[in-house]
């Protein structure tokens, strides 16, 4: 029975004029978005690979100099993206792609792609995820708002119900028919996207690509299902198709346009991030006055006394390592606590904002889907954070390796006066710092971070189905 109803619904939808133009528009937009996304991603990855290669060479070929000076010369980390970034570029347009890693200083990621585009590009570029998140629900609504309300208005619902079929069969049949029509539009585009990825020779960043694609498909299907059942519920409840359309389009605008922007603003108000303008100055002042109030020079004095007692020497010149280098490394470690506190506050604020937004997903199903989509594509803030953490670990190791080398190799310079206390190192020494490699979070980590969003999405689907069941149960057969 359900199949009979589904087949008739499908035939009717496909024959309707609405279907032709909405489907054509949708396919056109999706394919354009995927092609544009692919083009953008390929060129980004080419730039990233070239820049990372160049900076690695630059580090090695920086010319012979003191290792600590080399640490000042520094190194750059350029963030690579996984292949799914072509489908959903998430926040990557607005987050930095590059971290300058140098001695004594932890830096923010800079050079966001948005800063590089013309004003028109800032309205947000086409990407497949956006089309599916914003326009797929509209497609479902346009094809489905008449499902019950239209049959009630035309009177066919009485004819159908006089045949002796249950309201439940009618609901499932309509859901299946409408779902097939929507899939017929969306699925080919998704397959084309998967083929794009399969054919690519771009480096794979992040593991579990097949699982990611499968989970993305499930999440987007659930999202389409939410709108499908909400559309059927509203159509069963509404007095006329016109009312159904108005209610549904209103909800669509709320969840797909208003909430994503508003949720970010609300979460920022609830969990304020430290002010960017004074961030660096605050951190510098904190470093000068010392992490817990003891200034660095006093700490270093204490450290010197401690070292001299430990090695039983009365002059730093007699220490079995190059004192200047060890002292610099000690300063680095003292500063590190300040960096960790200040950058940690930013990270904590962002995490708070993110958790708050996840909860707002109970009001708008677009929010959890958007987060899941970015997470699986490897383009969300969690992964940006991982990139910055990797860069910071690299920076710490780089400085530590250079200072450590200096402390051992220049021990003979301990007694030499400062004007000539200089050890010159070459490429072989710089090579003890391996090139920067970003390690994206494991899929399991991503899933654990997003469990709330999966739960909220599932909640919406169940709620939508329940509303549809209630809707057809109480559905009037007469128009009034």
């Amino acid at each position: 029975m359900i199949r009979i109803i589904a087949r008739k619904e499908f035939t009717e939808i496909v024959r309707d004029g609405r279907f032709m133009w909405t489907a054509a528009l949708m396919v056109l937009l999706l394919l354009t978005a995927m092609l544009a996304g692919w083009q953008r991603h390929s060129s980004y990855m080419a730039t990233q690979a070239a820049a990372q290669g160049a900076t690695n060479t630059q580090w090695l070929k920086q010319g012979d100099k003191n290792p600590h000076t080399a640490a000042h010369y520094g190194n750059y980390a350029f963030k690579p993206l996984g292949p799914l970034a072509f489908f959903d570029n998430g926040v990557t347009n607005y987050t930095g792609t590059t971290v300058f890693m140098e001695a004594h200083k932890q830096n923010f990621a800079i050079a966001s792609p948005a800063a590089d585009t013309s004003a028109i590009g800032r309205f947000g570029e086409l990407n497949g995820a956006m089309i599916l998140q914003v326009l797929m629900p509209l497609l479902v609504i346009f094809l489905g708002f008449t499902a019950f309300a239209g049959e009630r208005e035309s009177g066919t619902i009485r004819q159908v119900m006089s045949m002796g079929i249950s309201r439940l069969s009618l609901l499932w049949g309509k859901a299946l028919g409408l779902g097939s029509a929507v899939l017929m539009v969306v699925l080919p585009c998704v397959i084309i996207g998967a083929v794009f990825i399969a054919m690519t020779d771009l480096p794979m960043v992040g593991e579990g690509l097949a699982t990611r694609i499968a989970l993305l498909t499930v999440a987007y299907l659930a999202y389409a299902g939410i709108f499908l059942f909400l559309t059927l519920a509203v159509s069963a409840w509404s007095r006329s198709p016109r009312t159904a359309l108005m209610v549904l389009v209103g909800f669509w605008a709320f969840t797909a346009f208003i909430m994503p922007k508003t949720a970010a603003e609300i979460s920022k108000a609830v969990y304020p991030s430290p002010p960017y303008g004074s961030f660096m100055a605050d951190m510098k002042a904190h470093r000068a006055r010392g992490f817990d109030g003891t200034p660095p020079w006093a700490e270093l004095g204490k450290f010197q006394g401690q070292m001299m007692r430990e090695y039983r020497v009365s002059d730093v010149k007699d220490l079995p390592f190059y004192w200047t280098a060890v002292r610099m490394q000690r300063l680095e470690e003292l500063d590190q606590r300040v960096f960790d506190q200040h950058f940690g506050a930013v990270t904590a604020a962002y995490a708070g904002q993110r958790r708050f937004q996840d909860r707002l997903g109970l009001l708008a199903p677009t929010l959890p889907l958007r987060s899941i989509s970015m997470g699986l594509a490897g383009t969300d803030l969690i992964q940006q954070q991982k990139f910055q953490d990797d860069a910071e670990s690299f920076r710490e190791a780089m400085v530590e390796k250079m200072n450590g080398y200096l402390s051992r190799a220049a021990v003979s310079l301990n007694g030499v006066s400062s004007a000539s206390n200089y050890l010159v190192a070459n490429e072989d020494v710089f090579a003890i710092v391996p090139p920067f490699r970003y390690q994206p979070p494991a899929l399991a980590t991503t899933l654990a971070e997003h469990w709330m969003n999966f739960a909220v999405l599932a909640f919406w689907l169940v709620a939508a189905i329940l509303l549809a069941l209630l809707g057809v149960k109480g559905m009037a057969l007469e128009r009034d």
Partner: protein
Amino acid sequence: MLEAIDLRKSYGDHAALEGLNLKVKAGDIYCLLGANGAGKTTTINLFLNFIEPTSGTAMVNGIDVTQSPLETKRYLAYIPEQVMLYGNLTGIENLEYFARLGGHAEYSAADYQSFLDRVGLQANAAHLRVRTYSKGMRQKVGVAIALAKQAKALLLDEPTSGLDPKASNEFSALLLQLRNDGAAILMATHDLFRAKETGNRIGIMKSGRLVQELSTDEVSHADVERIYLEHMH
């Protein structure tokens, strides 16, 4: 086949139907006459279980419709004033869809065509979309649906109003065919002439009550009109 026992339906203080007792046997064409609001459509809606009775019982084939609403509908066919079909499907597709909904998946394409031929739909119309059909053509598809459903009882709600005399006449001929096949037919109508011509029994309703029943072979056309008008005053 169709039986109403003390059937009542009220909306708040207003009683749409006040204790209707009615029996339509196989081979009967029972015509319900009465002004708008007399309770004719309410009666049909109660047999279809589209509305719940306030009290009393509506039975189809001896089964209470509120107890087994899906089973009783298997025996019923419903033809409203306007048979509503899907405009984007052809006549034959509409017929096939409703036949399958009614639980008859056994028909071939030739069977569907022969149903449409039997009700007199023009041969070339079966494969046209129903959007292009006239009202008379839709009513014929409605009867074809009833035929395909092999309904034992028909509920007709002013099925001929708005049809031209020729189409109305063709429709009545179809009803007689169905009756001869053993169907029980309950028809709400305003057409006194058709009621006397086609029906074998007539019930006159007023303000939710069945005020008089007649056998058409005992009265003339003039009698029917006279009795009807007497009750309307």
